[in-house]
């Protein structure tokens, strides 16, 4: 039966050549990223955009090369992960006189965590949450207040930031359950503005001045606010925060991916695509929406708490509606319900405006233009939703080629 659509065949390579291909691709991406950050002039951005378009065009014309690379990545997953790990570990040490960019990368990392939380709501469950920044703020202020008033250690306040945000979202969700459709979006917009107004006016949150001197992270007496001395070189303090947010991002990526490849992922996707079909198949949709909403906000809250303990100073303008829109853009542009896409989206959308500083006045114009062009050419995001393959769960790897099994 010729039911399975033939994908263009990938070329067979020897293991050594395969590993070389995988490491070559990982290395090239890493070097391009480094060049993008280290070369201050604007031309590098334009050059890399042209290069990226050229590569995409070339791979489109030569699908067998794309297929070969994909096959090799599937075959040598371990090598690819090791290569990426080495690159990520080396990265901060290439930034020894570049504290500003390292800081931006750390912030991008915190947005990976937050956007993956939002992805669970918006991408997986189809719930439009336009109060991402407000929940980020709830996490940040919870952590800041607990640390300042009661002297709790940042590790504990990080967790509390997430938990308080999750719990606050449960209270917000109860009135929403009675309504349908886009009302959640409206309620979250209202919540967004209420939070900022409250932060601005409440006494104990410091009003417009916000919270100052929030203790930064420290580990067994080692303050993260110390410069790192290595090989006779002095590296900026952000190296410490970089490794912390790297760890947090990796854990969040693993958790998000595991949720995606599970019954929870299937259930949320069905609710997103067709609530009535879900209901009449035995799904208690409100329960699952609440779970997605609060778990998602847990990650957003943790990310906010990380911000508080990284920057040490938070005030209401850090948590305004525009930031919520950025978070939503990350998920939509990166790829709804696609973990890798959201990660890519977070990195691009947080670093791109910084890179566009060379055209200072026009940078948000260009930024908006890029978003529009992207959505025209890739309406489903950079990496669109992929069919769940339960990789690592079901024996026989790919379900696509599944035959038999039915006779069991």
């Amino acid at each position: 039966m010729a039911t399975i659509t033939m994908k263009s065949t990938s070329r067979k390579l020897s293991p050594a050549a395969g590993i070389a291909v995988v490491l070559g691709v990982v290395g090239a991406v890493f070097l391009l990223f480094l060049a993008l950050i280290l070369i201050q002039e604007g031309w590098i951005l334009i050059a890399e955009i042209i290069l990226a378009l050229a590569v995409i065009y070339y791979l489109k014309r030569n699908p067998h090369i794309e297929a070969t690379i994909k096959t090799q990545f599937n075959l040598h997953r371990g090598v690819a992960i090791m290569g990426a790990a080495v690159a990520l570990l080396i990265f901060p040490f290439t930034m020894y006189e570049n504290a500003y960019w390292l800081y931006n990368v750390v912030i991008a990392g915190s947005f990976i965590v937050a956007a993956l939380g939002l992805n669970l709501q918006l991408g997986s469950g189809g719930m439009v949450n336009l109060a991402g920044a407000a929940f980020y703020g709830v996490g940040a202020y919870t952590a800041g207040l607990l640390a300042l008033s009661w002297g709790w250690p940042p590790w504990l306040t990080l967790l509390c930031g997430g938990l308080v945000t999750a719990i606050s979202s449960i209270f917000l969700f109860i009135p929403v359950m009675k309504t349908r459709g886009h009302y959640l979006a409206l309620v979250t917009i209202a919540f967004q503005f209420i939070v900022v107004i409250l932060l601005d006016n409440l006494e104990f949150t410091g009003g417009p001045q916000g919270l100052k001197n929030i203790p930064l992270f420290s580990l067994f007496g080692y303050s993260f606010n110390t410069e790192v001395e290595l090989f006779g070189l002095t590296f900026p303090t952000y190296v410490n925060f970089y490794f912390l947010i790297l760890l947090m991002s990796v854990v969040t990526i693993i958790v998000a991916n595991r949720i995606y490849q599970s019954w929870v992922g299937v259930t949320l996707a069905t609710i997103r695509d067709d609530e009535i079909a879900a209901k009449t198949s035995g799904v208690q949709i409100n329960k699952w929406k609440l779970i997605a909403f609060s778990v998602g906000n847990f990650f957003i809250g943790i990310s906010g708490a990380f911000y508080a303990h990284t920057v040490g100073f938070i005030s209401p303008p850090n948590f305004v509606f525009e930031k919520s829109l950025v978070m939503v853009s990350i998920v939509i542009l990166g790829g709804m319900d696609n973990v890798a896409g959201v990660v890519l989206g977070a990195i691009l959308l947080i670093l791109l405006p910084e890179k566009l500083r060379f055209i200072s006045d026009y940078r948000y114009l260009i930024y908006g233009l890029v978003l529009i062009v992207m959505l025209i050419f890739r309406p489903k995001g950079i990496l669109p939703f992929k069919v769940r393959d339960y990789l690592g769960l079901v024996s026989g790897a790919k379900l696509k080629s599944t035959k038999g099994g039915a006779e069991v």
Binding site: V266, S281, G282, V387, K398, K400, T402, G405
Partner: protein, 267 residues
């Protein structure tokens, strides 16, 4: 006609009525289904057939009246509770999740039987793996009944399938809940006569594969109704106008009037 019924009523309605504003869409309908029976529900467009399905599955709340499944009233129950008790349905216009794989679409029918949720998904993948493997085997078994070719396409998005296969997957999803009453809302809509015949053969196969399941089928194609149903209920303007074997119902004057227009009155 197969005599699989044992005379036990599995489902019945009592004076089922729903009003939308001034319109009485369903008006005091009494009907029942026996265990293992295939009941046809016929009537012109707008006679309230789908509305009855919507009430039985909990999507609409009846204005008055009651309905019973397995001896228990399901009035006021949530759709998910009704599905879990064993009443599932398909829809006239397909309600598959087209982006999701065929397997995922069927998995949702097994949703409430699964035990591995958030905690297992994150920290105990082994337990989840066992469940996914079992669910996959069951889903492929269901697909096999309908169309062995579908087994090979289980990992493809539902959007890649032709109309008839989408219908089949939708029936598989409803069957994955392991219902005792299956409601089929115009399964032949948008299909060629040959496809309709295939699908009806499939439905018979399903009924044989799961002993004791009862089916209510809404259908406009009278050939289908006469070939697979044991009994027929005919509706017009929300009221039951006839009931009995197809031959008997088709011979009733009210039914002829409903379909062809009353003699002497122009519609």
């Amino acid at each position: 006609m197969t005599a699989t019924t044992n005379g036990k009523k599995i489902f019945w309605t009592e004076q089922l009525t729903i009003k939308f504003g001034g319109l009485v869409a369903v008006d005091g309908v009494d009907m029942d289904v026996q265990e293992g029976e295939i009941l046809g529900l016929i009537g012109p467009n707008g006679s309230g057939k789908t509305t009855i399905f919507n009430m039985i599955t909990g999507l609409y709340i009846p204005t008055t009246g009651d309905f019973f499944f397995d001896g228990e009233s399901l009035l006021g129950r949530q759709p998910y509770e009704i599905a879990r008790r064993g009443v599932t349905r398909t829809f006239q216009s397909s309600r598959l999740c087209l982006d999701l794989s065929v397997l995922d679409n069927i998995f949702i029918g097994m949703h409430y039987r699964q035990r591995s949720w958030l905690f297992d998904a994150i920290l105990r993948r082994g337990r989840l793996a066992t469940e996914v493997t079992q669910a996959k085997r069951k889903a492929l078994e269901l697909l096999e009944i309908f169309n062995p070719e579908l087994v090979g396409r289980a990992g493809e998005p539902a959007a890649a399938l032709p109309q008839i296969d989408r219908r089949r997957v939708e029936v598989c999803r409803a069957m994955a809940v392991e219902p005792r009453l299956l409601l089929l809302d115009e399964p032949s809509a948008g299909m060629t006569p040959e496809e309709t015949e295939e699908l009806m053969a499939d439905i018979k196969k399903v009924q044989q594969a799961s002993t004791g399941i009862s089916i209510i089928i809404i259908e406009h194609d009278m050939k289908v109704i006469s070939s697979i149903t044991e009994r027929v209920v005919a509706l017009n303007y929300g009221r039951k106008i006839a009931e009995g074997t197809y031959q008997k119902v088709a011979g009733t004057e009210e039914v002829r009037d409903a379909y062809l227009g009353k003699r002497g009155h122009h519609q």
